[in-house]
Symmetry: C2
Subunit: 391 residues, 2 copies
C-alpha cells in the first residue's frame, strides 16, 4: 500500500476516456499558469479545486488528501490508505500515493516538493490551517500562496458543460420556488423548520443529489440574512424569505454544481410598506442583473443595486454584498462586492441577491444565478420575481 502505482496516462499510454482527457487538459492549463506565475508546486486539498481538476473530492476529515502538482513532473495524489479504494475511477490522471495512519503525509509532501527547495508553493485556500503550519515548518525555504491565485481566473470561467449543469440545478430550484410561490408548500400556521424540511425534500425530488441549506426566515426572522430555520410558527401577513440550494450532478461524477435561489413571499395581503419596499428591491435586483455585462467591474454591479436601494431610503438595511460566484463551491469567485475591480468575463456565473432587512420587523431578498456572456447577462433562474401572496 505504501508504494506509488503508475497508471495509464502517467506512463504515456492512451487515456481511457474523454473525461480523463478533459481533466488532463485542465491540469495542463493550471500547470502552464503556475509556470507563468513562478509557482513551483501546488498542493491541492479541501475545496472545489481538487474535483475541478481531477473529478475526485477529498473527504472533509483530518486525514490529509493532497494532489501534488510540480512543474515538469507527473501529478501525484497523496491519499489516506483508507480512502485509496475510492479513488480508483480517477487514477489515470495521477499516480496514487496512499499513506497509512502510521505515516506522516506532510513529510511525504515535503519530500516531493523538495525539503531544501526555495520558491513559491500554492496551497488550497480551504486546506486546514494546521496543514499549512505543518507544511511551513517542513519547507522553510518556500513561500506559500493561495492556490486560487493560480486557479481562480480559469475556474471562474465556466465552460458550456458547467453552465449546463448550473442551469439544470437552477431550474430544479426554480420548480421548488414555484411550489412555495403557488401555495403548494403551506406556510402560515407551520414552523419554519417544517417548511425548510419540505423545501429540502422537494430539492431532492426535483433532482438535487443533496441539500446544502434551507433558510426560511419569517416575520422578524427574515431580517437575519443567514437565519437558522427554527421553531417559530409562521403568522398571517408576514413576509417569508426562502433561500435554498443544493448540488446537482454529484452521482456519477462524484462532484456537482450548486443551486442557490431566494424568493420572498407574503402570507396574506401585504401592507403598503412591504409592497413599496418590495418594488424597490425588485427593481434593484433586475437592474443589477442587467448591469452584469462582460467587462463591467464586479463592484459596479454591486453599486447599481446599492445605489437604487440607497436612493429609496433603505440603504442602511442592505447589509451585505450583492452576490457571489457559484460552481462546485456554493460561494467562489467572482464576488460581486465593493472593492472587487475585476471585470466580469464571459462564462462567469454568480448570484445577484440584494436584500432589505429591517431589524425586529421583516426582511426580503431576491436572488438569481446569472451567467455573463458576450450576448449579455443570462439569468439561469426563471421563477417569478413578483411578491407572491400565499396562504
Amino acid at each position: 500500500m505504501g508504494g506509488v502505482s503508475r497508471s495509464a496516462a502517467v506512463t504515456g499510454a492512451t487515456p481511457r476516456s474523454p473525461l480523463v482527457q478533459f481533466f488532463s487538459a485542465r491540469l495542463a492549463r493550471v500547470q502552464e499558469r503556475m509556470e507563468e506565475m513562478g509557482v513551483r508546486s501546488a498542493l491541492v486539498s479541501h475545496g472545489g479545486e481538487l474535483p475541478w481538476l481531477t473529478g475526485y473530492t477529498a473527504m472533509p476529515l483530518e486525514r490529509v488528501t493532497l494532489l501534488v502538482l510540480r512543474l515538469g513532473e507527473d501529478p501525484q495524489l497523496l491519499v489516506p490508505a483508507v480512502e485509496a479504494p475510492r479513488v480508483v475511477a480517477h487514477d489515470e490522471l495521477f499516480s496514487l500515493r496512499p499513506w497509512r495512519d502510521s505515516e506522516d503525509p506532510l513529510d511525504i509532501a515535503a519530500d516531493l516538493v523538495g525539503r531544501r527547495a526555495r520558491g513559491v508553493v500554492a496551497l488550497s485556500d480551504r486546506a486546514w490551517a494546521g496543514t499549512l503550519l505543518g507544511l511551513q515548518s517542513r519547507l522553510p525555504g518556500m513561500r506559500f500562496v493561495c492556490v486560487s491565485e493560480v486557479t481562480s481566473p480559469i475556474r471562474a470561467v465556466k465552460d458550456s458543460h458547467e453552465i449546463g449543469v448550473l442551469r439544470d440545478a437552477a431550474h430544479a430550484a426554480d420548480r421548488v420556488a414555484a411550489a412555495v410561490q403557488s401555495g403548494e408548500v403551506p406556510l402560515a400556521g407551520r414552523t419554519e423548520s417544517e417548511v425548510a424540511g419540505d423545501i429540502g425534500a422537494r430539492l431532492i425530488a426535483e433532482g438535487h443529489d443533496h441539500v446544502n441549506f434551507t433558510i426560511v426566515g419569517s416575520g422578524p426572522n427574515g431580517a437575519s440574512p443567514h437565519h437558522d430555520s427554527g421553531d417559530r410558527t409562521i403568522g398571517e401577513r408576514e413576509t417569508v424569505v426562502c433561500d435554498f440550494g443544493g448540488k446537482v450532478g454529484v452521482r456519477g461524477a462524484s462532484f456537482g454544481y450548486c443551486s442557490d435561489i431566494t424568493r420572498t413571499v407574503v402570507t396574506g395581503s401585504p401592507s403598503a410598506e412591504i409592497t413599496e419596499c418590495y418594488e424597490v428591491l425588485k427593481g434593484a435586483q433586475a437592474a443589477a442583473v442587467q448591469a452584469a455585462r462582460v467587462g463591467v467591474p464586479a463592484e459596479d454591479v454591486d453599486a447599481v443595486a446599492r445605489s437604487m436601494i440607497d436612493a429609496a431610503g433603505y440603504g442602511k438595511y442592505f447589509i451585505h454584498r450583492t452576490g457571489h460566484g457559484i460552481g462546485i463551491d456554493e460561494h467562489e469567485e467572482p464576488y460581486i462586492v465593493a472593492g472587487n475591480t475585476t471585470p466580469l468575463a464571459p462564462g462567469n456565473a454568480f448570484s445577484i441577491e440584494p436584500g432589505i432587512y429591517v431589524p425586529g420587523r421583516f426582511g426580503m431578498r431576491i436572488e438569481d444565478i446569472v451567467v455573463a456572456t458576450d450576448e449579455g447577462p443570462v439569468p439561469l433562474n426563471v421563477a417569478d420575481h413578483s411578491l407572491a401572496v400565499v396562504g
Copy 2:
C-alpha cells in the same frame, strides 16, 4: 452595525443563565492555559472549538468568523454582519464585532491582536489556510500555532453532560444498528444507496438532528473502508459493512455531539473463511476495548488490536488506526494510533474500530464508542457484536 456592542457578562452584570456561566468557566480555563503556555492571543474559527467554548458554530463559508481571545481582555467575536443576528442568544459571553462585506475582518483581527505584537498566537486547526496566510502577512511578529495545542487536553476530557449526550447519540445509533442486524432493514436485492437512505432516515427518526455519513459497503466494496454507498445491488451470502453516524443535541444548543458505529452483517449463511475472520476481528475489538484503561498510552490500545489480527495472519488487511476521539467533531483527539504516546485520561471518548479488508473480496469492521473512566473502559454502544445473518 460596525461598532462593538457590549453585553451583560462583559460589563460585569450577572450572567443570565447557567449555560453562560458554564461557557464562561470554559473560556477562563482556556485563557489560564494560554497564560501557562505563553500564548498571547487565540483566534477561534471553524471546527469544534468555537461551539465548545461559546455554543456558537461558525458557518462553513468564506466570510470569516473569529473569536478573539487575548490575555487580560474580554473576548470579542468578529462575525459577518449577515450572520450577527444568529449570534444573539450567545452574546453574553463576548462582545460582538459584526463586520460588513466592505470591511476586511483580518485587518480587524490584526488590530485587536496588535500589528506590532511579538509572541505566539493560536489559530483554529480547521480555519482555512487562506485565513492563516492573511493573518501571517498582517502579523509578521507573531508565531502561529494550532489552537488544539491549547484546547485539546481540556476538550478531550468530556464532562458528565457531554458523556450523557454522547451516550444518547450512541444508543440512538444502536437502535438503527439493531434494525439492520434483525433484518428489519432489508439488504439483499437492494442497492447500497437505498440501504444507506434507510439508515439515514432511521438515524433521524431515532433522535439525530442530522446525518453525518452512511457507509454501506457490500461484498468487495466492504474492502474500501470509506466506501461511497453506490448503485451496487447487495447479493446473497455477502458481508455488508454498515458504518454510520450523525449529531444529537443540535436543537436548542446550536451544536451537538456525534454518534459513530459500525456493524458488519452477512446476507445468508457465511463461509467458513468469513466466520473465522470475524471471530478474529471480534476478539481483537473486544480486547482493545478492555485495554482502553486510564493511564494506558493510546498507541498501546492500537497495538492490542493489531497484534491479535497480526497473529491470526490478517495483519496486512488491517489498514488503518484503531480509533479516533469523538465529540462535537466526528474525529478529534485522542487518536488511537501508533505514535500517540499520550496516556488515556478519565473522560476521554473515542472509537475502537479495527477492520479487516481483503481487496476485491470482502471487508468487515466492528466499531464502538468507548469512554475511559477510573472504573475502567465504558462502551457507550451496546448493539450486538456477533455476526448477524440477515435476509
